[in-house]
Structures are given as structure tokens and as C-alpha cells.
């Protein structure tokens, strides 16, 4: 890790002004930034420490929805009683992520901005080619070991998987990312790699996530998050699904359903095909199974990650069946 200058920001305004300078990065929990600086991926000249700013860690749930300050810790949000009650999939996505130590450190804003675990991206000394790190340099993964790479949303330039869990649940329930005065729907916040995989989100230089809001819905209240991985804990998803369901008064016709996928796509992946196939239909296991296959519509594998095309629909199916049984 190369040395950098360190500024402890006294206010959001000071942080934003400093962050607009070139080669400057904001430091909150540090779990992504310091890790990537040690890998040689992040190389800031200036680090602006925002972890001590006050008033940005509020967690509030009312009739409208949840308001989560950007500096709220993952561990706090996971155990918040109102979040658990109104947005169970959000709490489940959080406590199944990372480790207890990392959840005590990592902020909600930083969690959204975590970078891919693509082994080629994380190892610049061995693999100079990475379009995400160095635009135009090529992609080492396309001809490499692709077991953890995306089958959805990839391009000729990049197939790196978005690694997070929380953003998957937020995508299912139409969360909004607040950048001070400006706000962006979460599905628009995360960008597809296309020909510019170095651009991962809709933030501009000098912008900072200040809060996330999630609107209340019956589907969010009846929701779950299922994460399947290579080991039982402290591992990124091989495939995950956040699902929420609301029923008509008859208790069996699906009036609203939300499905989002993680671990298989280049961004948190809303599976609208599955939702459209089941909305208005009776909740019935065979229909759920058929609809779940639509989750991987358009999927392209690169050999070793083919298993994700088999796995993802099963995870979706299991999450829908589990959610339906408890709604």
C-alpha cells in the first residue's frame, strides 16, 4: 500500500469538497478500501475519513418506509427490530454477509460500493489486463477460470460478479440511494459493465451516499433472503435470491411478487420475468418452478460458471416457496 495523505472530515460538506479532488477516496468502514489498497487495486493519494461524522447513522422505520443513514453499520441494521419486522430480507441479507467483525465495521453506503471479488481484478501484479481497473486493457477472466463469474449482465469487456447481498434485497424492494440532494433508484444506481466496466454506479466525482430509503410494502414485510455458497458462512454467494410476496384476500392469488438475484450477475439483478409470470397467478409449486426458470433468461456461461445457470433458478424457487409459505 502506497502512502497517502489523511484528512478527517469535520462535515459532509468538507468531505464532498475533498472527495472532488483527483485520486481522492472516502474512507468509512475501511473494509473495502484498505483491502484493495493492500491488493494494489486502490491507490489513493488522499484519503478522507468520514467514519467520525455524526448524524449519518440513523436507522428509522415509519409508515412510509425505512431510512438508513449511510454510516449505519451493517451489524446495527441487521438487528434493528423494525427492519427485521418490516424488511426481513434486508436483515437476513446483512447477517449472512461477511463476518461479525466486518459487519461491525462496514457502513451501509460502503457496502453498496464494495468491489467485485473477481480474482483477476484483485491481482494487478499477475494480471495487468482488466478493463474494470484499466479501461481498454482487456479482460483476463474471459479466457480464465470463471467459476465465480457472472452469467447475467456480462459483456465482451467484463464478466465480474457484483458480490454484495444487501443490494440484492434493496433491488427487490425498490430502494432509493440518496446522494445528498440527488436521489437515484437502486436499479439505476448500479450500471451494467457494457464497454465501460470501470463505471460501476451512477455517482459523479464529489458525490457521496448519504442515506438509503426503502418504501414500505406488503411484499417487503413478507420477504426472505436465501444465500447458497461454497461454505456455510463467511463466503460470497454462489447464488442468492431476495423474494417478497403479497397475496389477494383469498390468500392464494399472488398480488405482488419481487425477485432479485445475487452472485450470478454483474449488478444486483431484478428478475422481472419471474415476477410477471407469477403476478395474478395462484400460488402453486409447479407454477413457481416453471416461473423460476425465467430468472436466468439470457444467461451466458463461460464454462466453469455453468453451474450458476442450474443453481440460480433453484435458489429462486426455494425462496419463493419459503416466502409463500409464511406470507
Amino acid at each position: 500500500m502506497r502512502d497517502f495523505s489523511y484528512l478527517r472530515a469535520a462535515s459532509v460538506e468538507e468531505a464532498i469538497n475533498a472527495a472532488a479532488l483527483p485520486a481522492t477516496m472516502l474512507l468509512a468502514g475501511g473494509t473495502t478500501l484498505l483491502d484493495l489498497a493492500k491488493c494494489g487495486v486502490a491507490d489513493p493519494e488522499r484519503v478522507v475519513d468520514i467514519s467520525h461524522l455524526t448524524g449519518l447513522d440513523t436507522i428509522r422505520v415509519d409508515g412510509e418506509g425505512a431510512f438508513i443513514g449511510a454510516l449505519a453499520k451493517m451489524s446495527r441494521v441487521a438487528v434493528d427490530a423494525a427492519i427485521q419486522q418490516q424488511f426481513p430480507a434486508v436483515s437476513e441479507a446483512l447477517w449472512q454477509a461477511a463476518s461479525a467483525q466486518i459487519r461491525n465495521m462496514a457502513s451501509i453506503g460502503g457496502n453498496l460500493l464494495q468491489r467485485t471479488r473477481c480474482a483477476y481484478f484483485r491481482d494487478p501484479a499477475t494480471f495487468p489486463a482488466c478493463n474494470k481497473r484499466s479501461p481498454g486493457s482487456g479482460c483476463s477472466a474471459l479466457e480464465g477460470v470463471t467459476r465465480n463469474h457472472a452469467v447475467l449482465g456480462g459483456s465482451d469487456a467484463c464478466i465480474a460478479t457484483y458480490p454484495g447481498d444487501l443490494a440484492v434485497a434493496l433491488t427487490a424492494f425498490d430502494a432509493v440511494v440518496h446522494l445528498g440532494e440527488r436521489s437515484v433508484a437502486i436499479d439505476d444506481f448500479f450500471l451494467l459493465p457494457g464497454s465501460t466496466p470501470n463505471r460501476e454506479h451512477a455517482m459523479q466525482p464529489g458525490e457521496m451516499i448519504t442515506a438509503i430509503t426503502i418504501p414500505t410494502s406488503v411484499a417487503a414485510r413478507h420477504s426472505t433472503f436465501i444465500k447458497v455458497r461454497d461454505r456455510q458462512s463467511y463466503e460470497f454467494a454462489a447464488a442468492s435470491a431476495a423474494v417478497g410476496i403479497a397475496f389477494e384476500a383469498d390468500g392464494k392469488t399472488i398480488s405482488d411478487i419481487r425477485v432479485a438475484l445475487g452472485g450470478v450477475a454483474t449488478k444486483p439483478w431484478r428478475a422481472r420475468g419471474v415476477e410477471d409470470a407469477l403476478r395474478g397467478r395462484a400460488f402453486e409449486p409447479e407454477a413457481v418452478k416453471q416461473a423460476s426458470r425465467l430468472a436466468i433468461e439470457g444467461a451466458i456461461d463461460h464454462g466453469a460458471n455453468h453451474y450458476k445457470i442450474e443453481l440460480a433458478p433453484r435458489v429462486v424457487e426455494r425462496a419463493i416457496l419459503k416466502t409463500g409459505a409464511m406470507a
Binding site: 484498505l34 461479525a100 461491525n104
Partner: protein
Amino acid sequence: MTNEITIHLDINGKTHSLSVEPRVTLLDALRDHLALTGTKKGCDQGQCGACTVHVNGERVLSCLTLAAQAEGQKITTIEGLSDHGAELHPVQAAFLEHDAFQCGYCTPGQIMSAVACIREGHTGSDDEIREYMSGNLCRCGAYPHIIEAVREAAKVMS
């Protein structure tokens, strides 16, 4: 050209002043600047938990914390877990009693994590202990005895 900053760290109830480059982690400050070598460097990338310390009573990874960030926080390391010369902390005693280690390198991190795990109330079952201790790897594979030690220490501490 050096770019050192002066920081003050509250570690185990004692204030230390030191001059470090901003990139110095809390882990390196503890080990290399303050000779508090009980906190171990395993992976140095947030994947093994050997460097676990408490900041304001909560377990965190000192390898992914800048020393400068820790200024103004109350830091506890394995050296500060029990008072000097006093009896071992119940979790330390339980690790000895249940032979919860082999080489011992991950042990300070395991113990710091276990103290927090018990305080958080995540020792309701062995599965819960496994889940909430998953951030601490043991390459010797002493997990069954670590689970026993945490389970028994939780009883003593309740």
C-alpha cells in the same frame, strides 16, 4: 519525504502517543510501534480474524482499520482482557480448559471474538456459535474445542 502524523490511541485504558504514516493500520501500530504483539497478523486482508480487537467494546479487524481512524476510540487487545496480574478472563480460562487450540496463532483473535460473541448473545446453540465465530479461521482445525470453550465460557459469564 515523510508524511507522518501524530496520533493518540487509548489502548487497554492507557493513552499512547505515536507518530505514524497515515497508511499504518491499527494492527501494525499495535505490533510494530507499541510492542503489543498479542494481536496477530494472519492474512492482513480481513479474511482470517487473527487481528481481532475491540473498539468501544465491539469486535473489529485491526488489519482493516487505520491507526488514525482509531484515535478517540477505546481499544482493547488480548493484553487488556484481564487486569494485570489478575486471573485469566473466563474465555481465556475456557480455551485452556478445553484445549481450544493447537499452534495458538489464531487464539488471541478467537478469544477476542468469542468475548464479543458471548456479549452479543450469539451462543444459543453450537450452530449459532459456529455462525457468529465464522470470521475467525483456525488452520489447525481446532474448531470442535473452540465451540466447547465458547459454549462453556458463555455459561460462566451469564
